[in-house]
């Protein structure tokens, strides 16, 4: 039986909608996503909530899941995600190849970093399997896969040495920032768009803040005060983003990454802003559920079927980009694409929900 609407599914659904819209760059609705007025975006929210969900797999402190089952469950979950990533990447390559042939335009392949599949197939396929080769806009699931494969260690460390998890996670994040340590891509030259060494911090924070003890308990006890502190900072950050005001990275003290806004390395500006924004936004769930119950239920529907919705959404946004290019659409076309895409996502989630219901 599908679970009822709740804040976590609602915000996960919200993130999925934004990711879908933002993955059609240049469309007019992109400007209405919260990144326009924010130093962080839906990626932080998505990964944070992935960590939050880990709490449910680990089980409550009074009735924890047996260790062997926990480890197996988490590895199976990571494997499922890995398989899902492989399927959508292969589908994306086929989609791009079809687009390239139908439109007689080989740039389709280069546009999404897919050309290596055809020009260096041996290396590209090895890279795809190893996750070192990532198509454009298909780079968040590799991060998620790595985080899920790391999740048994995170869960076990927390179970046996709960006080160590946060400092160890923060130390890895800090070291990666200071040393600019990240994962290299191959066979294409470059770096992972999402540095797992940094983004694990967001995941771990989600896991810890989901709990009513430890850092999560501390935040809950002082949430009202945190929101008062967060409000002016988030407003200022929104203004700075709107006005295009930012620190010149070359003028920032060393190590630069500690003082600038960078998504790949999840710099302190981004994660700090996200946490403050989350503290404020968490106050919205109850009034939304009370006054806009349809919206609350709809986004929760997407959120509780997040993997399916994410996978379909990734392919739909790719198809939308190809269509936008082919049709050279304006506002009407963009609106049609976004509405139809979201309609398909809601329909897919509803079917998945229906499938889960007892006969």
């Amino acid at each position: 039986m599908p679970r009822s609407a709740n804040a976590v599914d609602f915000w996960r659904g919200f993130a999925l909608v934004e990711i879908f819209v933002n993955h059609i760059p240049g469309n007019v609705w992109e400007a209405l996503t919260h990144k326009t007025l924010s130093q962080s975006d839906s990626a932080e929210l998505f990964v944070f909530l992935a960590g939050w969900s880990l709490k449910h797999v680990v089980g409550p402190p009074e009735d924890p899941r047996p260790t062997a089952r926990l480890i197996l469950r988490l590895f199976l979950r990571a494997g499922k995600l890995y398989a899902a990533h492989m399927v959508i990447v292969m589908a994306a390559i086929a989609l791009l190849a079809i687009g390239s042939r139908v439109l007689d335009n080989p740039l389709m392949l280069e546009w999404f970093n897919a050309s290596a599949v055809f020009t260096a197939p041996v290396e590209a396929h090895i890279g795809l399997v190893l996750l070192t080769y990532q198509l454009g806009y298909f780079d968040i699931l590799p991060l998620y896969v790595v985080l899920l494969f790391a999740s048994p260690f995170i869960a076990l460390l927390h179970r046996h040495r709960p006080a160590l998890l946060l400092p160890i996670s923060a130390a890895i994040w800090f070291a990666a920032l200071v040393g600019e340590i990240t994962f290299a891509t191959w066979p294409t030259e470059g770096e992972w768009f999402f540095d797992p060494l940094c983004w694990q911090f967001d995941f771990v924070l989600g896991f810890l803040f989901a709990r009513s003890t430890g850092p999560g308990g501390l935040v809950r006890r002082h949430l009202a005060a945190i929101r008062w502190v967060a409000l002016p900072i988030v407003l200022f950050a929104g203004w700075a983003r709107w006005a295009g005001w930012e620190i010149d990275p070359t003028a920032a003290p060393e190590p630069h990454l500690l003082f600038v806004n960078d998504k790949s390395f999840l710099t302190p500006t981004r994660i700090g802003h996200f946490l403050l924004l989350a503290a404020l936004a968490s106050a919205l769930w109850e009034p939304l559920a009370r006054h806009l119950p349809v919206a609350a239920r709809a986004l929760s529907l997407l959120g509780r079927n997040s993997l399916l919705v994410f996978c379909i959404g990734s392919l739909l946004s790719l198809a939308a980009q190809i269509l936008r290019f082919a049709m050279r659409g304006g506002m009407v076309f963009d609106t049609l694409v976004v509405v139809c895409g979201l309609g398909i996502l809601f329909a897919a989630a509803a079917v998945a929900d229906w499938w889960e219901r007892p006969e």
Binding site: G26, W111, F112, N113, G136, T188, T250, F325, R328
Partner: protein
């Protein structure tokens, strides 16, 4: 037949690379292979690279930041043209250490690339940025005027931070030769390069000429052969333009003197 043509062309480039005389004072810039004979750089003869030149003079080391589409490294014969540029420069200027920092992300729009250039300038302290820009914006339907202003402000920011810049223009594909939006983006990039006085590698024109010279009438436009040869020619033009700008056309001036800290 295609393979033979490709091998012949690669051979020409290899011969050109091998033939370049390694001397700092009077570098002999290798001739462009006949298949790459289309002028590859916009106003290349008039453009100098003062910051790059100073790095060569004082440090014998240059740091090149490549932003734009990802390229495959060390696999395809002509896939990684930046490495061809690196090899060309190192063989042309004896003792020069060329450090290539590749941060290409395919599909990245100019606005995102501009943000990342600023960050990468802090991370890598490059002397020159090779910015492959325009194609993704054109494909995504971004307003050319918006892209032009982003590119312009980024070029100025780079110059303010004593970093030279080379724009690498849009890709060529026959299908888009009549596409007004694609051509508008191409014109916008050309205009900003001209008005800001930076080198633009005419990737589109090179590809167009190669296509006309090489592609049999019935061959599909998706042939990777054209892309490989185009990349090789791009590397050739880029390296030659840099060499020319650094030594053949550079007038002596203040920038030839080492900075105060190095004296």
């Amino acid at each position: 037949m295609n393979a033979l043509r490709r091998l012949a062309s690669i051979g020409l480039v290899a011969a050109a690379l091998a033939a370049s005389a390694p001397a700092v004072a009077q570098p002999a810039v290798a001739p462009v292979p006949s298949e790459c004979a289309t002028p590859g750089g916009d106003g290349a003869a008039a453009i100098t690279f003062p910051h790059l030149g100073r790095a060569v003079t004082t440090r014998q080391k240059i740091v090149v930041l490549a932003i734009g589409s990802s390229v495959v490294g060390k696999t395809g014969m002509g896939g990684d043209y930046y490495q061809l540029v690196e090899r060309f420069l190192e063989s042309t200027f004896r003792g020069l250490d060329v450090v290539l920092v590749q941060r290409g992300i395919s599909g990245e729009l100019a606005r995102d690339g501009a943000d990342r250039i600023r960050l990468e300038a802090a991370r890598s302290s490059p002397d020159v940025v090779f910015w492959q820009v325009g194609t993704a914006d054109a494909m995504a339907g971004i307003d050319p005027a918006e892209t032009r202003e982003i590119v312009r402000s980024t070029i100025r920011w780079l110059h303010d931070h004593q970093i030279d810049v080379v724009l690498i223009g849009l890709h060529y594909t026959p299908r888009l030769s009549g596409d007004p939006e694609y051509q508008a983006m191409r014109a916008a990039i050309a205009e900003v390069a001209r008005s800001e006085g930076v080198l633009r590698i005419r990737r589109y024109e090179v590809g167009e000429t190669l296509d006309r010279l090489r592609r049999p009438p019935n061959e599909a436009a998706t042939s990777v052969d054209l892309g490989d040869i185009g990349n090789t020619c791009m590397a050739e033009h880029l390296a030659r333009a840099l060499a020319t700008g650094l030594f053949a056309r550079r007038r002596p001036g203040d920038l030839d003197k080492p900075p105060p800290s190095a004296r």
